[in-house]
């Protein structure tokens, strides 16, 4: 069953075609990789899907059961609330807020009390706040961050910042999670830990995941299907094995050593 369908998506910046005529389909429950050399347009695809940019042309459809809804050009917060969450290639945490606050803010979508009741902190308000805290801590536990809930995000080590960003994305309870180079800058042990976590949250939250990653061993290990982007266009699409042996991909991008990996 389809969850996301991108059709003929194009985005140009001035004369530069960052994304041109990209079409892709992601089914519910899949873990799909999006790879390609630097500057291929991967992050731009994410920015288009999440509404950070509006496309020059093309459509993006998010499915809820059989029902498809176009989301291209909508505001990021609308798209997030429709069930698409993301992380950023260059981490964008609320650096001067605590770990707990980072997650709590992203739970905003599920908050039940109304604007006026937060001025007086009514009993209903208090139990709702408690629920938010409890659920945030539950979420942090998955990433082993519950012990650091009161630390400022900026003071976390790099790897944990990446984890926190994923936790924050999950706090909005998305159907589709977009991860932009989550393993960038991690050592092999950390990368292994990350792939474990991705596996775990995928099951736990019944997620569909689209993943940009440069670490080929990670991509080949966990992705079920891969799209390859080069100069803004999709040049290949298939299972890891198919991608590994695809001539075009090899010449355009992977190179000799990646095949050995």
């Amino acid at each position: 069953m389809k969850l996301l369908e991108v059709k003929k998506l194009t985005k140009s910046f001035g004369g530069l075609m960052a994304v041109s005529n990209v079409s892709m389909v992601i089914d519910k429950g899949e873990l799909v990789g999006l790879i390609g050399p630097n500057g291929a347009g991967k992050t731009t695809v994410f920015n288009l899907i999440t509404g950070m940019y509006s496309p020059s042309s093309g459509t993006i459809t998010l499915f809820d059961g059989e029902q498809g809804k176009p989301i291209q050009g909508q505001k990021p917060n609308k798209i997030c609330n429709a069930g698409v969450a993301r992380t950023f290639q260059n981490i964008r945490l609320f650096r001067d807020l605590t770990v707990l606050d980072n997650v709590r803010i992203a739970m905003h979508r599920s908050v039940k009390y109304r604007l006026l009741s937060c001025f007086v902190h009514s009993p209903g308000y208090r139990s709702e706040e408690q629920r938010i805290i409890d659920e945030s801590i539950e979420l942090l536990k998955i990433f082993n961050l519950d012990g650091k809930k009161d630390e400022l995000a900026r003071n976390l080590p790099y790897g944990e910042q990446r984890h926190l960003e994923i936790a924050r994305a999950l706090a909005s309870r998305p159907k589709l999670l977009l991860l932009d180079e989550p393993a960038a800058g991690m050592n092999p042990a950390e990368t292994a830990q990350l792939s474990e976590i991705i596996r775990k949250v995928r099951k736990l939250f019944n997620l569909t995941i689209l993943l940009i990653e440069h670490d080929m061993s990670l991509v080949m290990k966990i992705c079920e299907r891969i799209y390859v982007l080069d100069f803004g266009s999709v040049i290949a699409n298939g299972s890891p094995d198919e991608i590994k042996s695809n001539e075009r991909v090899i010449t355009a991008y992977l190179g000799e050593d990646a095949i050995d990996a």
């Binding site: 992050t43 920015n47 950070m52 940019y53 950023f88």
Partner: protein
């Protein structure tokens, strides 16, 4: 019809002043993305320096103008070095608050030394300047001719500096991309100081001219014209030098016409309304291009 032409002449004179001040805002903003609130006070200082040159030193208009420009240059560079440079990597809001602080400091520091009293220029000079040429019912004073003449001359010099000289090229490079400019071996600090120097010199000239034109100066005289000149810079597209000139003349015209046709009480409000409209309709200004932040 005569009145219409007269208004246009008055508008051009006023617009020249706004354009001179707006250039300083726009150059500084273009290069370090800062609304230099203190700029309007450099203009005020220019007026006072001109005033003291003419009253105490008994100098003529042109020498006073040159001295004012020189001293204002020094002040502008000092402001940059002392207050803004240490904040090069601070948040925008911190720099903006500092700029407001510097502005208040200059205004009330001046007020402390010269008192809040409104001063007028020596009658001999004012008289000679307010004479003029009469064409039917239309009156063009020497003062107006001088304002326009000085402004055009300074603008030509500025364009030459920015377009043709080495330091002008450095200015343009820094305003495009500070880091890249630095990598290309441009001395960014010098370039920024030079930008402040240029802007302050123009503001100093504007100060003397306005002081003479309205024949009234006080320590807070910079606030309102400063804001309007800023509106002019935004109107033309902030960071763009020709934009500031166009904006200056436009605001000058609008203001003159609004007061000329009997709504002088609302002339400031109209300028601010223009600001808000332009910010909503085309925040990048007349000559600017909209860019969205890169994610």
């Amino acid at each position: 019809m005569d009145q219409f032409v007269q208004q246009i002449i008055n508008g051009i004179s006023l617009g020249s002043i706004y354009a001179l001040i707006a250039l300083g805002y726009t150059m500084v903003y273009g290069i370090i993305k800062l609304i230099n609130f203190a700029h309007c006070d450099v203009y005020m200082l220019g007026a006072y320096i001109g005033y003291f040159c003419m009253t105490i030193l008994h100098l003529d208009v042109i020498p006073s103008l040159l001295i004012a420009m020189m001293l204002c240059t020094v002040v502008g560079v000092l402001i940059e070095k002392i207050a803004y440079k240490p904040l090069r990597n601070a948040t925008r809001i911190a720099v903006l608050i500092t700029a407001i602080g510097v502005s208040l400091f200059l205004e009330y520091g001046t007020m402390y030394f010269v008192s809040a009293q409104v001063r007028t220029f020596p009658p001999r000079i004012v008289k000679s300047m307010s004479a003029g040429i009469k064409l039917g019912n239309i009156n063009v004073t020497y003062m107006q001719l001088m304002i326009v003449g000085v402004t055009v001359l300074l603008m030509v010099l500025l364009q030459f500096t920015v377009k043709k000289t080495r330091i002008g090229k450095a200015m343009r490079a820094v305003s495009l991309d500070v880091d890249a400019a630095e990598l290309m071996g441009i001395n960014v600090d010098t370039t920024i100081s030079f930008t402040f120097a240029l802007g302050s010199a123009l503001a100093g000239a504007a100060g003397v001219l306005v002081g003479l034109y309205y024949n009234s100066i006080n320590p807070l005289m910079g606030m309102l014209p400063g804001l309007k000149a800023f509106v002019a810079a935004v109107f033309g597209g902030i960071g763009i030098i020709p934009g500031a000139m166009i904006g200056g003349y436009f605001i000058g015209m609008v203001e003159t016409f609004v007061s000329g046709y009997g709504y002088s009480m609302y002339r400031d409000a109209v300028v601010f309304a223009i600001l808000i409209l332009i910010l909503i309709i085309k925040p990048a200004g007349l000559l600017g291009r909209n860019v969205r932040e890169k994610v």
